[in-house]
């Protein structure tokens, strides 16, 4: 079955306390090489038949993400 991946990330101007918390933890654990972290959501959708890009984009933008604060990345090839 075709798989579609949707990544939802906060818009760059929106603060990301989750990413900040991870970054802080990495620093305390001695992983200084990581200088920035943003945390988002990752959805894996199983799709019947050929994925309909327009429909999937609508799903991503209206249901999976809140476009007021989030951006969406669609990977139709499931990767």
């Amino acid at each position: 079955m075709p798989r579609v991946v949707v990544d939802v990330v906060l818009k760059p101007e929106i603060s990301d306390p989750q990413g900040q918390a991870v970054l802080g933890a990495l620093g305390r654990l001695g992983h200084q090489g990581v200088t920035g972290v943003r945390q988002g959501k990752h959805f894996v959708l199983d799709v019947e038949g050929t994925p309909d890009e327009a429909e999937l984009r609508e799903i991503a933008e209206t249901l999976l993400a809140n476009p007021v604060i989030e951006d969406v990345e669609l990977h139709l090839d499931g990767a």
């Binding site: 906060l10 101007e13 929106i14 603060s15 306390p17 900040q20 918390a21 802080g24 809140n66 007021v68």
Partner: protein
């Protein structure tokens, strides 16, 4: 990019400025020019526009709210209206501060974050007074329960109130959830916080002592809600207008929890002379209010403000509404210790300026002066309007439209009432809130008032109720406000507490509509007369105007909070039948 400095403003008097887009009227802009004797710089314009917005300046409501100040002085009132929150003496050396605030429009745009940051804002107000926040309450109103958008707004709002309050460790001890078509495009989210301190701990928002440092601490400054204050609070939501969606503020309750602990440690070690939270209008508000309340001036190096987004302009930094920030005035000798406490709690803290012996608020940006204003003119001398008002034309008809006194089917009526969303079990909401944390909650849901123990040895406690009935207020705002007050008063009294003080959140439509303005004026008059009759002071509150969808305002919705004191919480009275065989008495007519 050239920086619009004070010098440059003097040299280019005719430069066009976007004051209208920032929500300022022609005459307001002219007044600013008059005050400064030149055109404002971009940064100054930003400051005046946010501080003179309806949200910050109360320009439409001020003339009416003054009535509350005329109420007889109460012995219990330690700090009255005008500060971040009023402070009430509850005995044994304890003082209590409480306040309600609205976050209506943001909660419509992004229900979770809007509601969450509403809780965050009111908690910082309480913290600013020197108190440890001990409980929260929330009064919520949505469109019809079965309207599609309610399914988007309600769960998000409830999760946001819970998500933020739970993460701060503040028990939620009560509130309301009500439904009416009039809130479909304009839900109401009113959050209350109450805090406790010793009398000697009361802190005020003022910058005293030349040479003292101005310290900004908490979260970094980003582009959150830039222009949000004026856009959100002084414009009506309009589907057809340009999309003025502000960038939404995202709350970080974890940072706020650290901020609370750091502040309490800072207060205990007596490390600040003045403190202010950054809410709407951010640094513009904090710097101008601190300086205006003090005896001197203030100078800020704006480029020292830690940023989350390095592309922000000076004006944007001044207007940013990034959450979880506070501003303190610290004596130079105590700065090191102050910063150490912040470091212990992982709270970022930066000295951004100092108190001066002048009388100006001066802000520099990489060595160039971009703000040079008398702080009072920003913070307190905003425009005041006596808006025209008149009784709504439809009110006679509405009042005459009496429902039938008895229906053919009383049972069906009764079932309809108890089965309505307003009357139904609210545990779907209250279960999402932590009511146990801190271990001092004596009463919360399902009781009519929340009751919190404040001393484990003396058993002293405080009771709170938060009530509103907009349908009564629509029929008669004067009496409606009094009924709301009476309800909250009774709810506090039946817990066994003695009512002491009142706070309120006044949610109305556009003040530019004379009929709405009348509702507002009447509600305030009713509340003031009610408080006079009950002998209670109003310690503070919040006004939210422009709550309307298109031309249609919400029902006038004054939400009233009453605080009471309980000498011994072990004697509290609980609601509901406790045992078979008890006698049922009806008090009153």
């Amino acid at each position: 990019m050239t920086v619009d400095t004070v010098t440059r403003a003097g040299e280019t008097p005719d430069e066009e400025q976007p004051y209208r887009e920032l929500g300022l009227r022609d005459e307001e802009y002219l007044r600013i020019r008059d005050i400064l004797g030149r055109r404002p710089t971009t940064a100054e314009l930003a400051m005046y526009s946010v501080m003179w917005s309806e949200h910050c300046s109360y320009k439409s409501s001020k003339v009416h709210l003054r009535t509350f100040g005329d109420l007889p002085r109460s012995e219990a009132l330690l700090v009255g209206m005008g500060e971040n929150a009023g402070v009430v003496d509850v005995g044994d050396g304890y003082a209590v501060t409480f306040k309600v605030e609205s976050h209506n429009h943001p909660s419509y745009v992004e229900p979770y974050q809007g509601a969450a940051t509403g809780v965050g804002g009111i908690v910082r107000d309480i913290l600013t007074m020197g108190a440890r926040p001990v409980a929260v309450m929330d009064s919520l109103r949505f469109g019809r329960a079965d309207a599609p958008d309610t399914a988007r707004v309600l769960p998000g709002v409830v999760a946001g109130v819970g998500g933020y309050g739970n993460c701060l460790g503040l028990p939620n001890i009560g509130g309301e959830v009500l439904f009416d078509d009039c809130y479909a495009g304009n839900p109401l989210v009113n959050a209350l916080c109450v805090g406790v301190m010793k009398h000697s701990d009361v802190r005020l928002a003022k910058a005293e002592g030349a040479g003292n440092k101005v310290v900004l601490f908490g979260a970094r400054t980003g582009g959150d809600g830039i222009g949000g204050v004026s856009v959100l609070a002084s414009e009506t939501f309009d589907e057809h207008g340009p999309a003025k969606r502000p960038s939404v503020q995202v709350g970080d309750p974890f940072t706020e929890k650290l901020l609370i602990e750091a502040c309490l440690e800072i207060f205990a070690a007596d490390l600040v002379t003045g403190i202010q939270d950054l809410g709407g209008a951010g640094l513009s508000c904090a710097t101008s209010e601190l300086a205006a309340a003090g005896s001197g001036g203030m100078r800020i190096d704006l480029e020292t403000v830690p940023l989350r987004d390095s592309t922000l302009t000076a004006a944007e930094i001044l207007m940013s509404e990034s959450q979880e920030r506070m501003c303190a005035i610290v004596e130079p000798a105590k700065v090191e210790e102050f910063l150490a406490v912040c470091a212990k709690w992982d709270v970022l803290a930066t000295v951004i300026g100092e108190v001066t012996d002048g009388d100006r608020l001066l802000i520099d940006w990489h060595g160039e002066r971009i703000v040079d204003v008398p702080p009072r003119t920003v913070a307190h001398d905003g425009p005041v309007y006596e808006r025209p008002y008149h009784r709504p034309a439809d009110l006679d008809d509405l009042q005459a439209d009496l429902p039938p006194t008895a229906s053919a089917d009383l049972r069906a009526d009764w079932l309809a009432v108890v089965g309505s969303p307003d009357g139904c079990d609210k545990s779907w909401v209250t279960e999402q809130y932590d009511r146990y944390v801190q271990g001092n909650t004596v009463l919360a849901q399902p009781d009519d008032a929340g009751l919190v123990r404040i001393d484990e040895t003396t058993h002293r406690g405080i009771a709170l109720a938060l009530d509103g009935n907009a349908r009564f207020a629509r029929l008669d705002p004067y009496t409606g406000a009094q009924l709301n007050l009476a309800e909250a008063y009774r709810n506090v009294a039946v817990s066994g507490a003695v009512p002491l003080a009142v706070t309120n959140c006044l949610n109305f439509g556009s003040p530019e509509e004379p009929e709405v303005m009348w509702q507002f004026a009447e509600a305030v008059r009713g509340l003031a007369d009610g408080c006079r009759a009950l002998g209670l002071p109003v310690t503070g509150g919040n006004v939210s105007l422009y709550n309307q969808t298109g031309d249609v305002p919400i029902n006038p919705t004054p939400v009233i909070g009453v605080l009471g004191v309980h000498d011994d919480v072990r004697t509290r009275v609980r609601g509901g039948w406790r045992a078979a065989g008890e006698t049922v008495l009806l008090l009153g007519e």
